[in-house]
């Protein structure tokens, strides 16, 4: 069972999913539940001997479409709601030891089509108000399965961070004759160029002016496009190329497979219009502040919500540009 409880102080929903305590935790490769099921072998989540890209309903979901109504009635201070939504796992490849950074541009391009398809399908579900596509990579992030995969949460509410970003974009839109905040930010980063990391015809990758993590990177559409599903074929191909450069750049930064959280920001699917407000972009949040030290979300960040960052965004971008240039030397 999944249950939502309203926090009247922070004014946000908190999800309780105690059934997830039993989820598979760092199994040896021979017992990976995300690998294909080999003939005569142990059955896995994937009942085939091989696959390209596969998506399945999470066995240990935070949200389910069948979550029961709360047994307890609401009180003025205690509000409940069923954890109705959906959780999917996206398998990037059937090769256990790969990473997204190791996918070729063609596979990343295909994956973008799959993500777009899932955004459309899950967004059409009545209980899903926000489709959240993400990847947690690396044990430092808390990943429990090493097989290359991402996840999708179909939230029954607009999550707090997305809601706050949309409010900011709405305020900017209203104050600037209908202009898009994120379009302005991308144009500013392209003009300034000090924080640019990679650039394509349709996407720009940069360390944001006010990054919250030392090596945070945003990949933002240069056109005001609300979701991954609204990208044209040319834009999807460009996104695949830019994604590949950023991913490889992260690995090249310190010569190791860098952990990260990869998050897609896009329009809610609650039926409202987000034209000129929601702007598709991908944010990467690696936990490292050096090759061997992690940035913890400790007292100030967790307790006060005030981020203190150890690396200036301009320095991080310079390092990442150099790493990408070394990995992709001119032909």
């Amino acid at each position: 069972m999944s249950q939502l409880r309203w926090d009247p102080v922070m004014r946000e929903w908190v999800t309780y999913a105690p059934q997830r305590q039993d989820r598979t935790f760092l199994p040896p490769a021979a017992y990976c539940p995300l690998c294909p099921t080999k003939p005569g072998g142990i059955p896995t989540e994937v009942p085939r001997a091989a696959y390209q890209i596969a998506v399945f309903e999470n066995r240990f979901p935070s949200y389910t479409l069948s979550a029961p109504l709360p047994e307890q009635p609401d009180t003025p201070l205690e509000r409940f709601a069923p954890g109705r939504g959906i959780c999917e796992v996206v398998l990037y490849t059937d090769q256990h030891n790969a990473t997204l950074a190791q996918m070729d541009v063609r596979r990343i391009r295909n994956l973008i089509d799959v993500w777009a398809d899932r955004y459309t399908d899950l967004g059409a579900l009545p209980d899903v108000r926000y489709v959240f596509i993400f990847e947690n990579k690396g044990e430092a992030i808390g990943v429990t399965l090493h097989h290359p995969h991402g996840q999708i949460y179909g939230y029954p509410f607009i999550p707090p961070k997305a809601a706050r970003e949309l409010e900011s974009a709405q305020a900017y839109h209203a104050a600037h004759d209908g202009a898009c905040l994120h379009c302005a930010l991308v144009e500013d980063e392209l003009r300034d160029a000090r924080r640019l990391v990679a650039e394509g015809d349709h996407f720009a990758a940069f360390v944001p002016f006010s990054a919250h993590f030392p090596y945070e990177v945003h990949i933002s559409a240069r056109r005001c496009v609300p979701s991954i599903a609204a990208l044209s074929p040319e834009e999807r191909a460009d996104l695949a190329r830019v994604l590949k450069r950023v991913l490889v750049g992260y690995d090249a930064l310190w010569g190791s497979s860098l952990p990260y959280m990869m998050i897609m920001h896009q329009a809610p699917t609650d039926g409202a219009s987000y034209d000129g407000i929601a702007h598709f972009h991908i944010a990467f949040y690696p936990p490292n502040r050096t090759a061997t030290k992690l940035k913890y979300l400790a007292g100030s960040e967790t307790g006060a919500g005030a981020f203190i960052v150890d690396v200036m965004p301009e320095d991080a971008a310079r390092q990442l540009r150099a790493a990408i240039a070394a990995a992709f030397p001119p032909a």
């Binding site: 989540e45 994937v46 009942p47 085939r48 696959y51 390209q52 890209i53 596969a54 998506v55 399945f56 309903e57 066995r59 490849t93 090769q95 030891n97 790969a98 990473t99 950074a101 190791q102 996918m103 070729d104 541009v105 063609r106 596979r107 990343i108 391009r109 295909n110 089509d113 799959v114 398809d117 690396g138 044990e139 430092a140 090493h146 290359p148 991913l247 490889v248 690995d251 090249a252 310190w254 010569g255 190791s256 497979s257 860098l258 952990p259 936990p287 490292n288 090759a291 061997t292 030290k293 992690l294 913890y296 400790a298 007292g299 990995a327 992709f328």
Partner: protein, 60 residues
């Protein structure tokens, strides 16, 4: 893109996506996977066992 949706034994679904040009793994530029850049058991900065260097660097 071909999309095949199947029901699993426990009622959940799985969708297989197949492409004419499947692409694949090209590890030439990316780092060897599963090499944590920091040990998973690295102590938290509030831990009493944290190396002094950790704190002094933070305090600079």
């Amino acid at each position: 893109m071909e999309k095949e949706r199947l029901a699993k034994d426990d009622g959940r679904y799985i969708i297989f996506y197949t492409f004419e040009q499947p692409g694949g793994v090209d590890p030439t530029r990316a780092a060897t996977p599963r090499t944590p850049a920091a040990p998973a058991d690295q102590p938290a900065s509030t831990s009493p066992t944290v190396p002094l260097e950790h704190e002094t660097e933070r305090d600079r």
